[in-house]
């Protein structure tokens, strides 16, 4: 077989596999849907607010509950030193509570 036909066939095969994997296999199956629903129910039942992904520090474990100054820990210059702290951003939009300050401060909290 000509090299060109071999390569084109390979590419076509890869493209097909790509399309099948990304098209057909994405999205949840029935078991997935069950699991997700069960987890959502768990969240509701226990009143959870965060994923238990980063158990390094309080503010990485509960980033949505952390107060504005928790990254400073106990000292103003105790800057971020937990690796996963770099994966969660500081809030880009103001908290509801601080909405009245919007536009009045030079930098966001």
């Amino acid at each position: 077989m000509r090299p060109s036909t071999v390569v084109l066939a390979l590419l076509a095969g890869l493209a097909l596999a790509f399309a099948v994997i990304f098209g057909h296999f994405s999205g949840s199956t029935a078991t997935d849907a069950e699991r997700l629903a069960a987890n959502r129910a768990l969240v509701e039942h226990y009143g959870l607010t965060d994923l238990a992904l980063f158990t390094e520090a309080r503010y990485t474990r509960h980033p949505s509950q952390a107060d504005l100054h928790s990254a400073f820990q106990d000292h103003p210059s105790a800057l971020e030193h937990f690796p996963t702290g770099s994966l969660v951003s500081p809030r880009s939009l103001p908290l509801f509570r601080d909405a009245s300050l919007a536009g009045k401060t030079t930098s966001p909290d």
């Binding site: 060109s4 790509f18 009143g47 994966l87 951003s89």
Partner: protein, 378 residues
């Protein structure tokens, strides 16, 4: 077969033969390119799937959580606070919650302790998350002791282990009765950690929160929408490590493309001259090079993408696990639901295939348009 098609096959034959002449170099190139696509695609798939799952699952979290702030820090809810909220229209339920952190020196791990009603957890028993159970080797009916911050030892019996399917949410949870919680942490009587409120109508949540702020000026309401927003910005591309990985991958890719674009060797220039001399048009030469760019970049993209999918959704993004774990001891085992963001994949395609193909064309452009008589003179 149509002459145009036959001609493209000829061009591809030639370009493959050219690539085969420097087999090791080109295979290395393909591998490097595939690796870059793999890393970028893995990152993209993983973060998107995690964010999707978080926003779905956390949609069940309380509508408003009220915290009390003293001198900028989170402080306890004192007795009477709940009553001061009074009756606010739209609030269906308000309850004081008790939860906190515990550092376990045995495994150097942090746990989250949560108090639950007596109907769920009896005094003297606890329910634990499955990652914790795994780490401490716990099963139902085992006993475990925790030393409180005051120095006293408390023993508990494990009543149940939470489902492993929920590890992403419950990995480090220890659920115990309110009495046990207060005794263990020596929590002041009548105080709570925070207050969870449920509001029936989502449109009213902000109004309720406004009323709360007025009634209790030292409080800080956290709305569910803010919780969800926190998790939307998780792994944002501007974030520390993500930015570093991205920058690294883009730099590597730029080097690759630069190497391609930075000019032809004398040998390559001569070959283009020969092709023109024997009857290839400028357009034929350019078309041939476009095929070269497309074949390499498409192969790398497809292979890298498929590998990324398998990596993230079958192997749980094992490559990123050390980063995500950071310094924590407990790390949840979880498989994500394949949620693919078509836009991200399309962007990845556009930014890998197009620049590379263009980079292949740049150096040959001039050679392809010059007169071939230079060949005769060589």
């Amino acid at each position: 077969m149509h002459p145009w098609l036959e001609k493209q096959l000829h061009l591809i034959d030639f370009t493959l033969a050219s690539l085969a002449r420097r087999k090791t170099k080109n295979v290395g190139l393909l591998l490097a390119y595939t690796l870059i696509v793999f890393v970028l695609a893995s990152l993209s798939l993983f973060t998107h799937a995690l964010r999707s799952e978080a926003s779905y699952v956390l949609a069940g979290s309380p509508e408003v959580i009220l915290q009390r702030m003293v001198a900028g820090r989170h402080d306890l809810i004192p007795p009477g606070y709940l009553e001061r909220i009074g009756r606010i229209r739209g609030v269906q339920k308000k309850e004081g919650r008790l939860w906190g952190y515990y550092y376990d020196p045995v495994v150097n791990a942090n746990y989250t302790f949560m108090a639950r009603p007596a109907s769920e957890v009896a005094d003297g028993t606890i329910m634990v998350g499955s990652a914790l159970a795994r780490e401490r080797g716990l099963a139902p009916n085992n006993t475990i002791s925790f030393r409180s911050y005051a120095g006293k030892l408390f023993g508990f019996t494990v009543a149940a282990v939470l489902s492993p399917d929920s590890e992403l949410l419950s990995a480090d949870l220890v659920l115990l009765s309110e009495n046990d919680f207060r005794r263990f942490f020596e929590y002041p009587e009548g105080h709570y950690t925070d207050i969870a409120l449920s509001v029936a109508n989502p449109q009213e949540v902000r109004t309720v929160a406004a009323k709360l702020s007025t009634a209790l000026p030292d409080s800080r309401p956290i709305l569910r929408e803010e919780v969800l927003r926190t998790y939307q910005s998780l792994f944002d591309w501007r974030e520390g490590i993500v930015l570093t990985v991205l920058a690294g991958a883009i730099l590597a890719f730029a080097i690759l493309a630069w190497e391609k674009a930075s000019g032809l060797s004398a040998e390559e220039r001569r070959e283009i001259g020969i092709l023109k001399a024997i009857g290839w048009e400028t357009g034929d030469i350019i078309r041939m090079k476009v095929w070269e760019g497309l074949i390499i970049s498409l192969t790398a993209f497809l292979l890298g993408g498929i590998a990324a999918y398998v990596h993230v959704f079958h192997f749980g993004a094992a490559v990123f696990a050390p980063v995500l774990k950071g310094w924590s001891v407990l790390y949840p085992r979880f498989t994500l639901v394949p949620a693919v963001d078509g836009l991200q994949i399309a962007t990845l395609f556009f930014f890998t295939v197009v620049p590379y193909t263009a980079a292949v064309l740049v150096p040959i452009w001039r050679a392809a348009i010059t007169d071939p008589d230079a060949v005769m003179r060589a």
